[in-house]
Symmetry: C2
Subunit: 433 residues, 2 copies
Amino acid sequence: MSATDPTIDPKTKSWVESANGGSDFPLQNLPLGIFSEAKGLRRPGVAIGDYILDLPAIAEAGLLDGEWLEDLAQPVLNAFLSRGHAAQGELRARLHELLSDERFRDDVEPQLIGQSEVHMHVPCVIGDYSDFYVGIHHATNIGKQFRPDNPLLPNYKYVPIGYHGRASSVRATGEPVIRPNGQRKALDAEAPEYGPSRRLDYELELGLWIGRGNELGQPIPIAEAAGHIAGYCLLNDWSARDLQAWEYQPLGPFLAKNFLTSVSPWVVSAQALAPFRKAMPGRPAGDPQPLPYLDDPADRAAGALAIQLEVTLTTEKMRAAGLAPHILSRGSADAAMYWSAAQIVTHHSANGCNLQPGDLIGTGTLSTDSGDGLGSLMEISNGGKTPLSLASGETRSFLEDGDEIVMRAWCEGDGAVRIGFGECAGRVVTSGV
Amino acid sequence: MSATDPTIDPKTKSWVESANGGSDFPLQNLPLGIFSEAKGLRRPGVAIGDYILDLPAIAEAGLLDGEWLEDLAQPVLNAFLSRGHAAQGELRARLHELLSDERFRDDVEPQLIGQSEVHMHVPCVIGDYSDFYVGIHHATNIGKQFRPDNPLLPNYKYVPIGYHGRASSVRATGEPVIRPNGQRKALDAEAPEYGPSRRLDYELELGLWIGRGNELGQPIPIAEAAGHIAGYCLLNDWSARDLQAWEYQPLGPFLAKNFLTSVSPWVVSAQALAPFRKAMPGRPAGDPQPLPYLDDPADRAAGALAIQLEVTLTTEKMRAAGLAPHILSRGSADAAMYWSAAQIVTHHSANGCNLQPGDLIGTGTLSTDSGDGLGSLMEISNGGKTPLSLASGETRSFLEDGDEIVMRAWCEGDGAVRIGFGECAGRVVTSGV
């Protein structure tokens, strides 16, 4: 994507007024998602200002053309995203034209639907969801709680650590967070008990949507990896810390995580993010260089994403009192990620594992190295030892019923138009089982 | 399934002669699978003797009727299995009639195809594949290599330990095993290297196919769990031990496993296995009883499966010399499983995690407590320290290129007709990347 890509030109404005005033969704963003109206079918749309543009509707009106046209009649984006960046770029260029050129306004405007009137869905059928651990400050903070002198394990700076998560329980923003039951064992107890988790937490992550896949046995070289990523979203890896502590050895987290994973519903494309790429942070002196299969000059020069991240908490009592959400953290993805998105994709396929269009990959929790940029309550409350205080007079070590977590992300600066990701929200409800 | 279920009556024979002489697939088995002929479409079939009966063909001939009829026109079994045991039982009863009553022979026989003429596929679209660790002797054997005095972790006898695996790389028997590349670090090396695995292994497991699913947030009670299992298969959890040792902390195995998982292609139903159920082995004195959510009298009385298991190895040199396969192990699933299939399903959903029709769940490696019933080379060669000797004069600690692993399983005894699972086979090829 060249710097002169007209779809990111900051001077061009949309005839959709609400797209031009600092919205998450200006003309320069154009993220795809899957929506439905009440009782309506699921179908693809693109976000513009406060609206979503109904893509099958403008296709039917004869305003779109491309080999990929039939893919937009699907209720999920898998087929369209499988075509790779070229098809994404073609659709993006045409949407940019339709939404900026006044000549198309009369034909296009009737196909805009208010975002508040639609329900958003997970944009793809997820064949596999895997989750990484590339947030080095998170890994260090968590490691310190167990091994104060030696928080990072020896493999961390060589291996982009990852594991498989649950695809069936990935849901779009707004899905209630049903407090999970499970086995939890107090440190001084002889045996575990089964019951509702008492240490329910969130984890702030980015999600990568895979576009083009690879065949089984055919690794994706690092120089080609970025081309396999269709776009990004926010991801909340809800976690039950008490279940996790008891179950995770020796095969890793399982029921502590697979009860729900929430994502923001928009696929923010690589094209839209191009102006916000920057060099990977240099590795501290003494750290090993990435092994050759993970090392690429282009990725070193532009593999980091300057995505701003924010998490807020609102309790039931705060809501009732009309108090503003409590800001739990603010940080930036590029300050948190030890491994790039391309390194994640290449490592994941390095053994021949096949990634498929619509696969979802989490980065792992993105904490900065500062106390106001921590991506989980486990870190903020130091494992529950230092509860945080809220304006309502309440305190929190972990999430209580009625608590709502909202994640937001955006990119700005460098003369580019600000773009946003939309929300990834979820409110905790009692298990009721 | 009552003991007088006519479909397991040992006295009834099929008019398909090859079904009656100790075949894996007598009239009492009738496992479903998905097959295709050269250039043909994938479709469901049932195994009988040396043949597969083409289900869409006999449906078209008007020989089948049921609410589930349209599901048999699908290229996967997900929709049919989602209907649960009742639909499976109806189809099974009708197939038993068609294949035993000579009056149907003229109509049915033309729709039999030799199994050697078809290609078998993974029978379902797998939404999620998860893998457990219920083989207590395997867990003990592996644990001893790291912690001789304390091989089992404290959670093992309370938690049916499991984790998520890779759905995209599950393949049916016969798929070549491409030796994976990955990071491996010698104990005395300063840094890891990237290259082909030198410690490639197999793991003998059973697979459970989920029939009816559950909704997110709605755990499956233990008394209902067996009704969610459509059937069983053999599963080979191919494992790269060197990659595993270096990568697995703290989130569990990932690239060491997700390059390939092989399954036998037939869904051996709960109905066919009913005569081979037996009481769970009593827990040794001192072991805790299962927590109430995992404890059920019916499961205690009949939750174990008397499935005989066998693994053989044939090297390239053995094949060239016409030598018989080397028997690596013989054992029985009921002697290996500390937790039942029902306990696995209930635990998996106990936090509200939703299982979906067509999900695959591995039991974990099934080793008996005897030296001739070990389910992996890691155990047989004691981590590579005691290579095994073959009739070809070769030795093996781990798998070499050209080696073929074949797994077989069957049930027999108690006056019931012997039934088999078919093969789960795979031959190692060089990575070529």
